[in-house]
Each structure stands twice: as structure tokens, then as C-alpha cells.
């Protein structure tokens, strides 16, 4: 299997820009819409694993369980953001979207939390990694059941405007 992936990687990674090539498995073409439904949850992170030690070189996440996803933003995707909810008094969920910025020094990760959605505007279509975990300010071992929704954010609209 590994050799197949390598062969695909060599043959298939062309001009991927900020995104990585889907080498093993067929990339899905789901395109987020504007309804915000349905939501995705990694389940109870307390029963999960601590798979990521470092986010973006300096955000130490060791001791905090996380959920890792691959996400494909199809060309023409309409989602504006990813929201994350499910915080408690001791658990503040954070979601990170990884781009090639970590390698080139052009920024690093986009992040969002329960007060501020992760913005997707300006993100090029492509395949990325998404991680959900506890905030860096949370205690070691902090965990809970976060829920994520893409979009769910209607565009701002002016209802009325007058000058007198």
C-alpha cells in the first residue's frame, strides 16, 4: 500500500500550491453550503487520544487529547467559517486548520474557538488537515465533547439605514 501511495504521490502531486495531494483514498467532493447543518463531532475527547504534541511549532498541545480530520474544500466552496461549540468551565475547544504556511513561514495555522469561528475566506480550495483540541490556556488533560459546523453563518445583511 505504501508503495502505491508513493507512486501516486510522485505522479500526482502537481502544482498543489497550499494544499496537499490526496494520495490514498478518493477525495470526497462535498461542498459546504450555507445552512450550517449537519454538525460533526469527534465524540468525547476524554476517551480519545493525544495524537498531536505541537501545533505550529510553539502551541504545546501535549497532554490534551485531540481529533484529527482531513478536509477537502472543493473549488467554489461557499462556507465562510467553521464554528466549534461544546465548551465547559474547564474545556475551551479550539479548532486549527493547517496550511503550507508552517513550511514557508507565511503564517501558520488558522484557528477558531467558541467565541470566534475559524475563517475560511481567503483559503484556497484544496485538501487540508483540521484538528480540534483544548485551548492552549486550558489545563493539561482538559477535554470534552466539541461539535463543529461549517458555515452556519449567514452573510451580514443591512436591514435599514437612514441619516437625519
Amino acid at each position: 500500500m505504501k508503495m502505491t501511495c508513493l507512486a501516486l504521490l510522485v505522479a500526482g502531486v502537481l502544482g498543489s500550491g497550499a494544499a496537499f495531494a490526496q494520495t490514498c483514498g478518493t477525495p470526497s467532493t462535498w461542498n459546504p453550503d450555507d445552512t450550517g447543518q449537519p454538525t460533526v463531532s469527534p465524540g468525547d475527547l476524554c476517551a480519545g487520544s493525544d495524537s498531536v504534541a505541537l501545533f505550529c511549532q510553539f502551541l504545546d498541545s501535549s497532554g490534551k487529547n485531540d481529533g484529527i480530520y482531513q478536509i477537502n474544500l472543493a473549488a467554489g466552496f461557499t462556507a465562510k467559517s467553521i464554528t466549534v461549540t461544546g465548551g465547559t468551565a474547564t474545556f475551551n475547544p479550539v479548532v486549527y486548520l493547517y496550511t503550507a504556511g508552517c513550511a514557508t513561514g507565511d503564517g501558520c495555522v488558522q484557528s477558531g474557538d467558541s467565541t470566534l469561528p475559524l475563517p475560511l475566506t481567503g483559503t484556497a480550495p484544496g485538501a487540508y488537515f483540521l484538528a480540534v483540541t483544548a485551548a492552549s490556556s486550558d489545563a493539561t488533560g482538559a477535554c470534552g465533547t466539541p461539535t463543529m459546523a461549517t458555515n452556519g453563518t449567514f452573510p451580514v445583511s443591512l436591514q435599514n439605514f437612514s441619516v437625519e
Binding site: 482531513q70 474547564t90 493547517y98 508552517c102 470566534l116 489545563a139 451580514v156 436591514q159 437625519e164
Partner: protein, 466 residues
């Protein structure tokens, strides 16, 4: 996958199960710093709360980002008490909602490494919050590589660039006689490879913000090019043989020599091999990613020496390294699965309608209350009133004013008007007390979103100031 590679994870899991973590008594609410312009320095008092019966010693404090600082270097948080550390942030070229991390080393058992956060909004005087000279791929010797970029500001009247402070040495930069348009050209001897994190640094005449940085982004193709740059390593697992082949080809299909290939910023090795089957003007870099590095997002650079051209070619690589047994799900498929489940239960459409109704109802009630309760701001001058729905991504509102419908428009409210704390939207009033009585003005409302982007919310409206 060998059991040998799984052992550390298995042992870690067993240890984790055997010794549950001691909960922390140190609570670190994020500190919110005031809205600031780029290149300013802001202070933020970090609150450290101890809800336990014993003092917590902070043995060492440090800033995660270069240029930021935190003091004191150590402190004690008393039992059932509060202590403060002062964070100082150099916001630099950040824009929009910005978060900075400060590390705290504590003596709490099992909680020795903690982090505190300072967050706030960083504004820019520019209309485009992230100006960039996007050259794209530049084929040295064949492409035109000139770009112009106008820097506009509706915050500073007669905005001008006063000086080019610095620029990458592979481009020539000049300022147009209008004082705000940059002209730039990639030099013929530019280093080959990807340039994504360089800036033209400019001194500007804005009183709020001394500098503006313009990003320079280009992929310079010389005689030898990699098959992609950055090169994605995708998902890697510890214990696997994470090997990748990066193809180098000659644009003129000529054979070329290579020297050493070096890997920086990640643990790994690289060597150059002939292509299989052998092809003219083609070589492969075999990159091996080491297991002896932290899991998570990894990024580095592979540099290959090209002695024929007296050049080095950097190739950026990035990917995600996870443990041998880490479950990595497909977000898109999870979404689809959830949608199918929702549809099978017959709850999708109903819940969506319910959501819409809830928002509309909340909106209607809230607007009514706001209109009924709000008294106009005191003073004389044109009174602007507006109502907005769906403000979730809005940081604030900005009022622009002109003497004529066609402009030029300039920002008139010094402080950004923040959205009301609500679910869906709000009603607002703002009075322009700087207007001259009897004079005709045009106003429109702009949005500042959380990423720092600026948009026009309304069309202009005319008024004669009373």
C-alpha cells in the same frame, strides 16, 4: 506496522490510564487587549487565578512569539487569590483578531506546562488588510515579472508612502509619483524557488501606524524546477517508512549535476537519485522523514545544490505527522454521514426551518427593544441609524463620509462601533458631531470583519447638517 513502533503509545496509554491527571487549580482567562493599529505595542494584564488551598509558584514565564515579552519572570499565585503578569505584545504586521501565547512553568503536580493567552483586534489604515505583490510563477528569462499595486486608505486623507524601508533583494521597487502606487520587478538573478514570507516594508504618513508591509509572493523558476513547491507530505504516521520522491526537471531538458541535498527545520535526510526510468534532465530527491520529532504539523525545507548553475534550490515541504494508531477522519465524509443520519430521522428540514424562525424572531424582538429603548446620542450633527442581521463575523462598524457622492470618502468615527452582544443582529445609532452646520455630506457604513477585511455595508446617503 511493527509492534516495536506501537510500544511507546501503548505504554503511554497504560500510564495514562493508571495515573489520572491531577486537575489544575490555576485558571487562566484570556486577556483582551484594546483595538490597536499595526506596528504598535500593547500591554495586556494576564490574570492568574488560584482556586486551590495551596500557593502556586510560577517558576518561569516566557513569550511564545519573538518580540513579545512577559513580566515578572516568576511569581506566586496565593491560595484562593489572584496574581497578574504583564504581557507586552508587539503586534507587528498581524491584522484582524490576533491571539498570542505566553508560556508559564508551574510547580503544580502534573500541570507544569501551562499557557496564557492575550487576544484582541489589530487594525490597519489600508483598505486592503493584506496587500501583496502576487507575481505567481516567474520563469526567469521568459516571463514579464512586473507588478504594480496601489495602496489606498479611507482612514488617512492624502495617504502617501514616504520611504521604502527595505525590500527583498531579488526585486526592484519604486514608488510612483502619486505616492501610493508600488512598482516592482523580479530581477533576472533572483534566487530560484518559492518566496512566500518576504515583505516590502514602507514608511507611511499615517499618524496611527508608522509602517505598512506589502507581502511579496512568487515562485521563481530557473533552469531546474521541482514538481511542486511547496511539496505536500500529506499524512504521515510514526513507525511508517515516510519516504517521498520529489522530481527535479530541467526546463530545457538538459542533464544537470547535483551536489548535497540538505534538510532543515525537520528531522530527516535527503539524497539525489537518477530518475527511473532514466530520463534526460530528470532527477529525484528521496526524502526520508524521521520518527524522532514531535507529532503534529511539520514543515521544513529541502535544499539541493546545483553546481552547474552555482545555485541552491530550496523546496518547502509540509505535512501532518501523527502516532501509529491515531485515527484521522475524513471531515467531508463525516458531514455526509451526519447528513444522511439526519435525513433518515426526518429532522433536517424541520430543524433548519426552526433555526431560521428562531433567528427571525430573535431579530425582530431585539430590534424592537433596541429601537424602543435607545435614545439618540447627544449633541448636534447628522444622526445615522442602521439595523443589521447576522453579525457573527463582524468585528465592528466604520462610518465613512464625503463631501460629494463620488467621494473621496474618509473614516469619521475614531473608535470602531462594536456589535451588540446578541445572537443575530442589532440596531445602532451614531451622531457625527464633527459635521459643520449647513454643509452637505454623504455617508455610508462599512464593516470590519474579524479577519481585518473591510467591506461596504450600505450605499451612500445624503444629508444637510442642521
Amino acid at each position: 506496522m511493527g509492534l516495536f513502533f506501537m510500544l511507546p503509545e501503548i505504554i503511554a496509554s497504560l500510564v495514562s490510564l493508571a495515573s489520572p491527571r491531577t486537575p489544575s487549580h490555576l485558571i487562566l482567562p484570556p486577556c483582551e487587549f484594546p483595538e490597536s493599529y499595526q506596528f504598535s505595542t500593547v500591554d495586556c494584564p494576564l490574570e492568574l487565578r488560584n482556586n486551590g488551598d495551596k500557593p502556586i509558584h510560577i517558576l518561569k514565564t516566557s513569550a511564545a512569539v519573538e518580540g513579545d515579552s512577559i513580566s515578572p519572570a516568576s511569581l506566586v499565585v496565593p491560595p484562593h487569590g489572584v496574581a497578574y503578569a504583564q504581557a507586552r505584545l508587539s503586534v507587528g504586521n498581524s491584522v484582524g483578531r490576533t491571539k498570542r501565547v505566553f508560556h508559564l512553568e508551574t510547580d503544580e503536580p502534573g500541570q507544569t506546562k501551562r499557557s496564557a493567552e492575550a487576544q484582541g483586534f489589530v487594525a490597519t489604515v489600508l483598505d486592503d488588510p493584506r496587500p501583496a505583490l502576487q507575481f505567481g510563477v516567474v520563469n526567469i528569462g521568459s516571463d514579464s515579472s512586473e507588478k504594480s499595486l496601489a495602496l489606498n486608505s479611507r482612514e488617512v486623507g492624502d495617504f502617501r508612502v514616504s520611504e521604502v524601508l527595505s525590500a527583498p533583494d531579488y526585486i526592484n521597487v519604486s514608488i510612483d509619483k502619486d505616492g501610493r502606487t508600488l512598482h516592482a520587478k523580479v530581477k533576472e538573478d533572483a534566487p530560484w524557488g518559492l518566496h512566500e514570507a518576504d515583505f516590502v516594508k514602507l514608511r507611511v504618513n499615517a499618524p496611527q501606524q508608522p509602517q505598512v508591509w506589502v507581502a511579496v509572493k512568487t515562485d521563481v523558476h530557473g533552469e531546474v524546477i521541482p514538481d511542486s513547491n511547496p511539496f505536500s507530505l500529506g499524512l504521515m504516521r510514526k513507525g511508517n517508512s515516510n519516504e517521498f520522491l520529489i522530481r527535479l526537471t530541467s526546463r530545457s531538458q538538459q542533464d544537470f549535476h547535483t551536489g548535497a541535498a540538505e534538510v532543515e527545520r525537520i528531522n530527516g535526510t535527503a539524497e539525489v537519485l537518477p530518475c527511473r526510468p532514466v530520463a534526460k534532465g530528470c532527477k529525484l530527491i528521496r526524502l526520508r522523514i524521521g520518527n524522532d520529532q514531535p507529532t503534529g504539523s511539520i514543515g521544513g525545507v529541502v535544499t539541493v545544490d546545483l553546481p552547474d548553475y552555482k545555485r541552491k534550490l530550496p523546496i518547502y515541504v509540509w505535512g501532518m505527522l501523527v502516532g501509529a494508531n491515531t485515527q484521522v477522519k475524513d471531515f467531508n465524509k463525516e458531514m455526509q454521514r451526519a447528513a444522511e443520519l439526519q435525513a433518515s430521522k426526518g429532522t433536517g428540514a424541520e430543524s433548519r426551518v426552526a433555526l431560521d424562525n428562531r433567528i427571525d424572531l430573535t431579530q425582530a424582538i431585539k430590534q424592537g427593544v433596541a429601537k424602543a429603548d435607545a435614545a439618540p446620542p447627544p449633541g448636534k450633527g447628522p444622526l445615522l441609524k442602521w439595523s443589521v442581521a447576522h453579525e457573527e463575523l463582524v468585528h465592528g462598524y466604520v462610518i465613512y463620509r464625503a463631501d460629494a457622492e463620488a467621494g473621496p470618502y474618509l473614516r469619521v468615527n475614531k473608535d470602531t462601533i462594536r456589535p451588540l452582544p446578541s445572537e443575530a443582529g442589532g440596531s445602532y445609532q451614531w451622531r457625527d458631531t464633527s459635521a459643520e452646520s449647513g454643509k452637505t455630506y454623504w455617508y455610508y457604513i462599512g464593516i470590519l470583519d474579524n479577519t481585518g477585511s473591510k467591506e461596504q455595508l450600505s450605499g451612500p446617503q445624503k444629508v444637510v447638517a442642521k
